[in-house]
Symmetry: C2
Subunit: 481 residues, 2 copies
Amino acid sequence: MAPKALDYDSLNENVKKVQYAVRGELYLRASELQKEGKKIIFTNVGNPHALGQKPLTFPRQVIALCQAPFLLDDPNVGLLFPADAIARAKHYLAMTSGGLGAYSDSRGMPGVRKEVANFIERRDGYPSDPEVIFLTDGASKGVMQILNTIIRGEGDGVLVPVPQYPLYSAAISLFGGSLVPYYLEETANWGLDVNQLRQSVAQAHSKGITVRAMVIINPGNPTGQCLSEANLREILHYCYQENLVLLGDEVYQQNIYQDERPFISARKVLMGMGPPVSKEVQLVSFHTVSKGYFGECGQRGGYFEMTNIPPKTVDEIYKVASVSLSPNVPAQIFMGLMVNPLKPGDLSYEQFIRESKGIIESLRRRARMMTDGFNSCKNVICNFTEGAMYSFPQIRLPPKAIEAAKKAGKVPDVFYCLKLLEATGISTVPGSGFGQKEGVFHLRTTILPAEEEMPEIMSSFKKFNDEFMEQYDDHSGYSRL
Amino acid sequence: MAPKALDYDSLNENVKKVQYAVRGELYLRASELQKEGKKIIFTNVGNPHALGQKPLTFPRQVIALCQAPFLLDDPNVGLLFPADAIARAKHYLAMTSGGLGAYSDSRGMPGVRKEVANFIERRDGYPSDPEVIFLTDGASKGVMQILNTIIRGEGDGVLVPVPQYPLYSAAISLFGGSLVPYYLEETANWGLDVNQLRQSVAQAHSKGITVRAMVIINPGNPTGQCLSEANLREILHYCYQENLVLLGDEVYQQNIYQDERPFISARKVLMGMGPPVSKEVQLVSFHTVSKGYFGECGQRGGYFEMTNIPPKTVDEIYKVASVSLSPNVPAQIFMGLMVNPLKPGDLSYEQFIRESKGIIESLRRRARMMTDGFNSCKNVICNFTEGAMYSFPQIRLPPKAIEAAKKAGKVPDVFYCLKLLEATGISTVPGSGFGQKEGVFHLRTTILPAEEEMPEIMSSFKKFNDEFMEQYDDHSGYSRL
Ligand SMILES: Cc1ncc(COP(=O)(O)O)c(C=O)c1O
Ligand SMILES: Cc1ncc(COP(=O)(O)O)c(C=O)c1O
């Protein structure tokens, strides 16, 4: 038979080029082991509820009522739901055009987009326009849509931090563009050096690639750093000079574990720079209901906000969004609930604060436990997780371990992570899945395992690691970084 | 300033080429009129809840409990929820890995995929494998993913019925492929003639296009026809001969309004043909929770099932699905509820049957009212809506109307539909948005307006149409079809 269109050999080559390590070899092996009955600690994906983080009560009450609006007519509704949840459910139902079962406008419901704009205004102190805020099925879908709009072919480059969250490399492959890496400085707490950017752009240029856009992830995944205002200003200035669209992935803006560098949005910094920069730099900022104290990953809710994007382009983005009709409506309401939280005096306010603070404070403690745990291990060094949900320790593999990996036909960090998985059930992602400098190795874990399990996990990690290092150490010494 | 990446002129050309009439000029004008206070009857999108179709009670009870699982521990839960909804909520929660707020496997939850496989087995009488069933955020996303996997460039053609649902033309443009039209025969009740296919493929070939896939929409949108078993067999045989992947869009399989031609799935026909055809033809079938008696468009739930697709290709499709992490979990549960409905004897069964039958029987009456209404109008002829949710009358525009349209700078059917909108508030989609033969004009409406409003809508349509025809008729006679 002749080859068919869905035979492997005849698939779209860009599809084949896509790599996505977060659910790659390690994850598949972990799933197998789980099926065989081994206890697996899944720290490969930032999926808080899967590791025991409880959903906030109030948003879930509201969404339950929105899904079952007939309960609002039931005389017993007050026995199961507080009055403010009932009121809020009515508020959102009134925004829909036929409840949660009707397609909304393809940009999302106007009422929720207005709530998002109000949130941004309160956060940044600059006005925000709901007409350029689009709701999406999670931030991933938004990022993909914007990259698809920008990328025309191999000659179009996108600056992406390395290490990076592999959504970016995957989407750039899928749309046939070129990833232009810029390295974050591990020894400078994963800081971003604008000279690095210049070098990367020059190098791309020499290969015939025009860099058209730049991605920042702030707070960082997998690196956990928070960008300072000064650093953001440099970046924006650079984008202005080089005519780059800035994609600001700010999904972890609520996940901050130190006080020296609070989250500051790229948009706020841009607005503060004044014209011409504030009027010229094209910026798209992304947010989600998956992270922060919501952690509602499975609901698939997000938004992007466009700054300085011409109306004709906004129309094109709207048109393409229309092709898949509308983002899911329940998650639009979650987004509304996230950006328009309860206020002091509201009936459920105390509970909401107790729950949300509890989550963030525990994450803060866990960030510390993990960093300290890693730094207590032989040949492991780890920057503190300032924000986001990840720890990204460097694993200084002895030459003998690298040799053993080669013999086993594995990339060295994959070799290490597989052994870790088999020995302890801890399912991590090798650093090579995010990009790292040549000859330097990492792994990524989330800081999400339950706080009470953390000491045991870290000690089982230490036991594995220190034995591994002992086994492969030839005591000759080797270089780091 | 130099052009920036998100300036209109520098966007991805494929994005600009996308057309999506369902939410195009007519929809935008209708939205404007609505803002100005005019009553608009939105019949442009198959969005049943937006036009008053009530959600089924039982699935909404189950999902409300899944969203608020703490209710299951409340002693009062039985006052608001029946026991079978409580049991079913527990059933689905047990399938999740952390409730509705956790990302699921990127293919969807194994438990729901098993329920889908069981449904397909019961429906078709052939075994179905959950490993090749992927859940999606609505059928649209599935269709787009499969087309993206197939299309490598302009040289790759996809056979699409004309008239068609514009998701197909839009996605093919976006991914840079070539749409190869095959015309449905209006005079043969929108039947599909395999000779037509041959001609279309030959014509494409002469332009250097290799046809790799074929789309069927059964029941049809916008045309409303149901394909017969014999016709499906011819199509599959043709796909076998020509090595075409068949994409079977079967989202309207529950929307059937006559008894002569019940829905039969492409997969069932394929399996019935026996080897070699049944072993060779690559088939992807799509379904959704948006249509049928669920009509849960806003939830964004769907699935696709792959037949005869090599495992390596399935792996690639899984990998790309992973990039956006997981389909939304609540809609996965809606899918479970749809394919695994209540059974006789279940506590809520009577109510479920009453509600679901009520919906389909009313749609059946409305299909008839609309067809008859259109056929009673001057210069309008309309095939009966055998299935799906649409009426697609041919509007025989007099030459003077076509001239007037030209003067107004409008495509003739757009001209007619705009006048209809302004005069009556009925928001339709011009036939040109779906494709039609040169010089023949149509419009599409859904059959979804409330049954009690239907007589008034049809008489206001007739009044407008007959006056329009009177105004432009020069009584000289003109040809049809
Ligand atoms: C940096 C970053 N961006 C975007 C996302 C996507 O999140 P979602 O699609 O759930 O909103 C993630 C998820 O882990 C992430 O880490
Ligand atoms: C023929 C056809 N296919 C697919 C879809 C997409 O439906 P959804 O994405 O809501 O599942 C529609 C929606 O109207 C349709 O008419």
